[in-house]
Every structure is written in structure tokens, then in C-alpha cells.
Assembly symmetry: C2
Homo-oligomer: 292 residues x 2
């Protein structure tokens, strides 16, 4: 099945052509300017290919309520020109193919669930820890939507006792996960980028502690079988064993499941699809749309 | 449809006969002794009625994985005699009727979702705040299971700056919701029961702050449309407006949905079924089983 995938980000839009197995055969990137500049370029690109469905993995917040008049709109973003923008309706009508949309992290969660690290399970949490922190949730085999969609980066955390900046750096929330654990928090807290911070610096212990709290939350709230941590900060692979160890300490034996107690290395993992979770998820959304 | 409902608790077992609309026509209570003492009494009670299905709302942890050899077992409870006890298989084979099981709070969440405060919505969180703190989660119209089932009482919280005991009183976790906000925490923190604590005591502000963090979490992680707070502590009805106000402060406009911004009084609510959420949920589980 020939499918289109759009990864819509704040700085660039990546358009891809591929199939329902995640195979990509063509790709093009466009800067995110105003909709009137960017959309025609995207539409022209997709029109070159005989796609049967389109999936959009988009920055949020989005209206994902199928009963809403503004289904498939980007809603309250501060990004110039994209607030209340009908990205799904515009692409769907211009291209004349079935189209489905989710958040960028929701699409990545779907891809990891169907084809990646959580394949064969019933639930997972996909998180990206980079310039921001966000997550997509799969429960009972489906992406969790509700009021809107998850914004997992904004849970409040118990501060690490040695964190000199326990309120973090989120403009909305004092002490939320994103504000405490995003990549730029390293520069702001320690005056040095995470890439240059020595591996034995306490900043890493603090980072692992916050991400372990996220993992603990995923286990006790979502009962997630798999927590997939991607994004720029997670390129520091030594964080994984630190996070696993802290998660077990925080749980303290409370969830006495074999997978937690004896296989935490299979529960808290890298993305199975590497950096391709997002585009693969968009292709899967396109395949879902085409099959409907 | 004539159905059986068992509310299995640590101190008593309440057996009810009712229908799929939650109407109860008979009820009996038995002390929770050992299985060999309590189970025959329960079985004899249910055998008096021509029930077509049985639902069990049970203290946890439970094995709810249908593919597991120990599906429907109580697992690691310290309650004498009930550890690794096959409560569903035993009742199902003794009574010869389709039987379904969930946690006590899962059943209550189901009841509130189908017939109570969250009727007509697609998602909710039901929490009980009493001698313990626990929750059941509905997402995309179904009870969330995964690794096991949610244990929402054990999320870690950001401590209130004026809490003299910010680690709380959970034997497993320093600073988890249950340890900080359960009914007995009032006695331990202030030397006075929550029932006797003056309404203007800072203890209530602290309690509201912790429950507001729970609500904030439910909105950003689960995207819950409705958060239902029941249990003994929530009989102090003045807590509801305090929790709503604190939740809005914690969110700080981040989830810009009309329901949050303008109808928080419809989002954070009392149980629509009063104290009958649990038994109603057990009847609904029995109805689900009978229809399968």
C-alpha cells in the first residue's frame, strides 16, 4: 500500500512516502513557515505519488475528538499562523485520500507498539526527552485519547534533594517533568550542555531520578508493560541502567510482577525503531485511514 | 437479568443479588476469615439465587491477564490465606456461571462510567480516598489493564512546602499519594482525625493540594474527562472546591480545553452512585460475563 506520512514540527515539516510496514521510499523536508507558504509545497509533494492514505504526526495541541467541529485542527499553539489551523481537513480535501492524525509522540508510540520495542504487548508509554518532554500512551492496545491527548511531560515530580533548581524551567509549571528533565535544563541548571556534562556528574543522577519517577508513574497509573525512552537526552545510553535502578528503588517491590522484578531491562528500553518511530507511526496512521 | 455481585474486602465480603441496571434485591455480609471458612458461606449464599452471571470487585493485587495460568487469582496480598488464592476460578466452578473480576476500584470506575458521574463520556478516573487511596482508570471506553492493573495511589508527589511530614506514611514509598493523603495520615500528621480537624486548618489545604496533583496528573497523563473522588475523606464536601481551584492553579492554563477552563466543577466530582459504585460495578462485571 503506498502511503503518505507527514511529520509536522515547529521548525520543519518532513513528508515521506512509504508503506504500511514502515518502509520509506521517498522523503522531502520543508521549513515550517506560515500555512499559506508551507501547505502548498506539502500538497504538491504528496500529489506526485499515488498514495492511498495519509498519516499526520503533528506538534500539539490537537483536536482529536472525532465528534468535534474542529477535528484534526491544531488548536492553541503559539506558532505563528498555525493556531486553530485545520491541518487534517486541508490535507484531506486537497489530496482526496483518507487521512488520520495524532500527536508526534502518539504516532511514535503507535509505531513502537505495532512494529518496535512494544510489539506483541498490550500497552506502552513512548516518551521523547529532548528540547521538550512529551509522551504517547497505548493502553488496551489503542492510543489513549480523552479530553484531548496526553501531555505526559507536565506531571509534577518530587524534587531531588540535591537539585539546585527544584522548580525547573517550564514557563507553566513549577517542578514538572519537562521543566526538570528536558535537554535545555542541563544548560540552565549546570551552565553546561548535557553533551558536555561528565558522566559522573550528579546532574545525571538527578536526571535519572526524574525519569525514574516518570517510569514509576507509568507502572502504577497506566500499568504499562513497556516504557520507551527516546529523544536527544536519551542518546546518553548510560542513563538507561541508572533509570532502571532508580525505578526499582522507587517502586520498592510494590508491583510484584516478574517483568518488573526480574526483567526491568526489557521494560525500560530504547526505541526499537531508532529515530524512525515518528515517520513509521505516521505511515501506520495513514494505513489505518486507508483501511477504514 | 439476575446477577450476583461480590465485593471482596479485607475485613468483610458483601454478596449481593441484583440486575444489570444496578438494582439490588438482596444482600448479605460475611466477615473475611480464611478462604476455607468464608468461601463456602459465599457459595451457599449465591446458590440460593438463579444468577446468570457473577461479578467480583476484589481487593488487589489481582492477576487480570486472561492469558495467564493464574487469571482471576488474588496475588501477593499479606492477608492471611488469600495470597495466590484462585478466587475467580473457585467461585466460577462452584456456581457454574460466567464470572468476571476486577479490582474494587476498577469495578467502581466501571459503574461510574456506565451509570454514574461519567456516563456518556469516553474516559474517567475513579479514586477512593479513605483508609487507603486507590483508583480505577477508564480510557477509550474500557478499564485500563496492562502489566497488572493501576495502583494510582502510589504516584509520587511534589510535597506541600508547609507539610511537616512530606514523606508521608506509606510503608513502601516516601512521598506517595496514599502515604500523604489517606485518612489515617491526618491522625499521624496532626494528631487529630480528619473528622475533627477544623475546616480552616492548613491540613485541608495540604490535602487539597495533594489531591489536585492527582487531578492534574489524570488530566495530563490520561486526558481524563472526569475525575470522581469517593471514599471517607471525600465526605468532607468542602474539599471539592478547594481541589478544583488548586488543580486549575497547577495546570496554569496549559490544557486549554473548555471543560477544564470553564467546567472544572463537572470534571472533578463526587461519585454519581454515592456509596454504591462498587456493588454496581460488580453487577456490571457479572452482566459482561453473562453476555459473553
Amino acid at each position: 500500500m503506498l502511503l503518505g506520512a507527514l511529520e509536522a514540527g515547529g521548525t520543519k515539516m518532513v513528508a515521506s512516502i512509504g508503506d504500511e510496514h514502515g518502509k520509506i521510499i521517498d522523503r522531502a523536508s520543508f521549513p515550517t513557515l506560515s500555512p499559506s507558504e508551507t501547505m502548498p509545497a506539502l500538497i504538491a509533494y504528496f500529489k506526485q505519488h499515488a498514495i492511498e492514505g495519509l498519516g499526520i504526526a503533528c506538534f500539539g495541541p490537537l483536536d482529536l475528538n472525532h465528534d468535534s467541529d474542529t477535528y484534526g485542527y491544531i488548536t492553541t499553539t503559539p506558532k505563528q499562523g498555525w493556531g486553530n489551523y485545520p491541518i487534517l481537513p486541508e490535507l484531506c480535501s486537497a489530496l482526496g485520500v483518507p487521512t488520520e492524525i495524532d500527536t508526534d509522540v502518539g504516532a511514535a508510540a503507535l509505531a513502537e507498539f505495532e512494529l518496535g520495542a512494544a510489539k506483541g504487548l498490550g500497552s506502552c508509554l513512548y516518551m521523547t526527552v529532548g528540547t521538550g518532554v512529551g509522551g504517547g500512551v497505548i493502553a488496551n492496545g489503542a492510543l489513549v485519547h480523552g479530553l484531548v491527548h496526553p501531555e505526559v511531560g507536565h506531571i509534577l515530580l518530587k524534587p531531588h534533594p540535591k537539585d539546585p533548581t527544584p522548580n525547573g524551567f517550564c514557563p507553566f509549571h513549577e517542578g514538572c517533568l519537562e521543566g526538570l528533565a528536558m535537554g535545555p535544563s542541563f544548560d540552565k541548571r549546570w551552565g553546561i550542555s548535557s553533551k558536555d556534562l561528565p558522566t559522573d556528574h550528579i546532574g545525571w543522577e538527578i536526571e535519572a531520578y526524574y525519569l525514574a519517577q516518570l517510569c514509576e508513574m507509568a507502572i502504577v497509573v497506566l500499568s504499562s508493560e513497556c516504557i520507551i525512552l527516546g529523544g536527544g537526552v536519551m542518546q546518553q545510553k548510560f542513563l538507561f541502567p541508572m533509570i532502571r535502578e532508580q525505578t526499582l528503588k522507587l517502586l520498592n517491590g510494590y508491583v510484584a510482577h516478574d517483568r518488573v522484578l526480574n526483567h526491568i531491562d526489557q521494560m525500560i528500553v530504547e526505541p526499537g525503531l531508532g529515530i524512525h518511530s515518528g515517520v513509521t507511526g505516521a505511515l501506520l496512521l495513514g494505513a489505518h485511514a486507508a483501511r477504514k
